[in-house]
């Protein structure tokens, strides 16, 4: 009796082995890999400011961004649509991790150039890392002719910005970014204006459905330009993804689109209706 039992056990044992699921073996044999977290933000901008998103290597993007006048200017100005500040730019992926951009804004006829480098990526898997870090640096040059009596040299027309972008994709529909920022201007309007301004940016993306997300961004300045009674920049945007590009519709109290300007030179009061409608259009080649 005992023997029969043993034989039965043997048979059961062998049966289990032969029926062992081949997929289980594949599971075991699957190499453990790191997955870099992607799509933390869909655009290279959260709203006005940069996100950790880079252009891929050899990808060229042409961006046209508009900010109209203030909506509270009323019907006579067609709620700000009569005026527009425009920036167009070429942005190019030198490598997957390094993007360069050259742009021109109509506001003060300003040229800007920037470099953005993805230093650390958020990863899941063996080499798990909880957040991403990118570095951003830009130089802007104002080319608008100065009024007689307040002429400036080229060096005095320059502005520098340095940012550390720290971002985390919490889950598929929610991402967050902190952006410590430093802005330096070589020339200030009055002596009371600081040459150096530190600011901290807060940005977030909430994915509403597969193709639409709601973004918000706020830059808090530790020091402000007093000559223009500068305010902190607040912006809301909606990202709409179409096949080849991301279309962003924006509401913001800032009318400019480059860092030195919207972070430190915003004067509108969002809650008093000084809101600029705008959009970022990009096309990738």
């Amino acid at each position: 009796m005992k023997n029969y039992f043993m034989i039965f056990a043997v048979l059961l044992c062998s049966f289990q082995l032969s029926a062992q699921d081949l997929l289980d073996i594949l599971d075991k044999e699957t190499p453990k890999v790191d997955n870099v977290v992607t799509a933390t933000f869909k655009g290279t901008r959260i709203v006005n400011g940069h996100s950790i998103k880079n252009r891929k290597s050899k990808e060229l993007e042409f961006i046209i961004a508009h900010r109209f006048g203030r909506v509270n200017t009323g019907f006579g100005e067609l709620f700000g649509l009569d005026q527009a500040n425009i920036r167009f730019a070429f942005e190019y992926g030198l490598t997957d991790d390094l993007t360069a951009g050259l742009g021109r804004s109509s506001y003060e006829k300003t040229y800007d150039g920037y470099l953005k480098y993805a230093l650390i990526k958020q990863k899941e898997g063996v080499h798990h890392f909880p957040f991403a870090v990118s570095l951003f640096g830009s130089i802007a040059a104002k080319s608008q002719k100065a009024i007689v009596g307040s002429e400036r040299t080229f060096a005095e027309s320059l502005y520098y910005v340095g940012q550390i972008l720290i971002a985390k994709k919490i889950n598929a529909s929610f991402s967050f970014q902190l952006t410590p920022t430093y802005v330096h201007r070589n020339l200030t309007t009055i002596d009371a204006d600081p040459h150096d301004i530190f600011a901290l940016g807060f940005g977030t993306r909430l994915k509403l459905n597969k193709r639409v997300s709601l973004n918000a961004e706020y830059y808090w300045q530790f020091d402000k330009l007093v000559s223009i009674a500068a305010r902190n920049s607040l912006a809301f945007g909606i990202d709409i993804e179409t096949g080849g590009h991301v279309f962003q519709i924006i509401l913001s109290n800032s009318i400019t689109m480059i860092e030195k300007s919207f972070i430190t030179e915003t004067t509108g009061n969002f809650f008093a209706g000084d809101i600029h409608l705008g959009f970022n259009l990009s096309r990738t080649f």
């Binding site: 005992k2 023997n3 043993m6 034989i7 056990a9 043997v10 044992c13 062998s14 082995l17 032969s18 699921d21 081949l22 997929l23 073996i25 594949l26 599971d27 044999e29 699957t30 190499p31 890999v33 997955n35 992607t38 799509a39 891929k56 990808e59 598929a172 597969k210 193709r211 993804e241 179409t242 096949g243 080849g244 990738t284």
Partner: protein, 181 residues
Amino acid sequence: MKNTYILLLCLFLTTLVSGQERFLTKTGTISFFSKLPLENIQAENSQVLSIVDATSGQMAIAILMQSFLFEKALMQEHFNENYVESDKYPKATFKGNIIDFKSIGVVEKKVQVVGMLEIHNESIEITIDALATKTADTLVMTGAFYINLSDFAVDIPSIVRNKIAQKIKISFLFNHKPYKK
């Protein structure tokens, strides 16, 4: 004493069964191709795992969706984020049988593979034609077939409907080697 014999027999049997011939590859290639007048989209994954049990002709395939490489990075991002939802469903799998496996030899032979294909958490039964050759230390299987995106609940928005084909051509090449545990 008798028990010792039985124990030995048990061990022997287990060795026999576990020593059955299996072929495995970790570098199988699967590529897909969406062909439309407006846009051609293709992607390739060369880290596909496939295993064949030579005694039973059973076959299993595991495909990590994030390992598909596209020509355009944006396409790859959309593929993973919006279409196959790789974060929720990281793997596609196939489990089935190679019909008349024993007939495969050194001369290339057309065989049918019947089984369940699971993509995006949706399974369908599928029959695939493949060309197979087998020697002592290789088992090569190659072929192509079509799938319907609608079978796998992959939702294509109207705005890109003329850029992504409903019927997707899938090509595969598996160069299996003997698998030892």
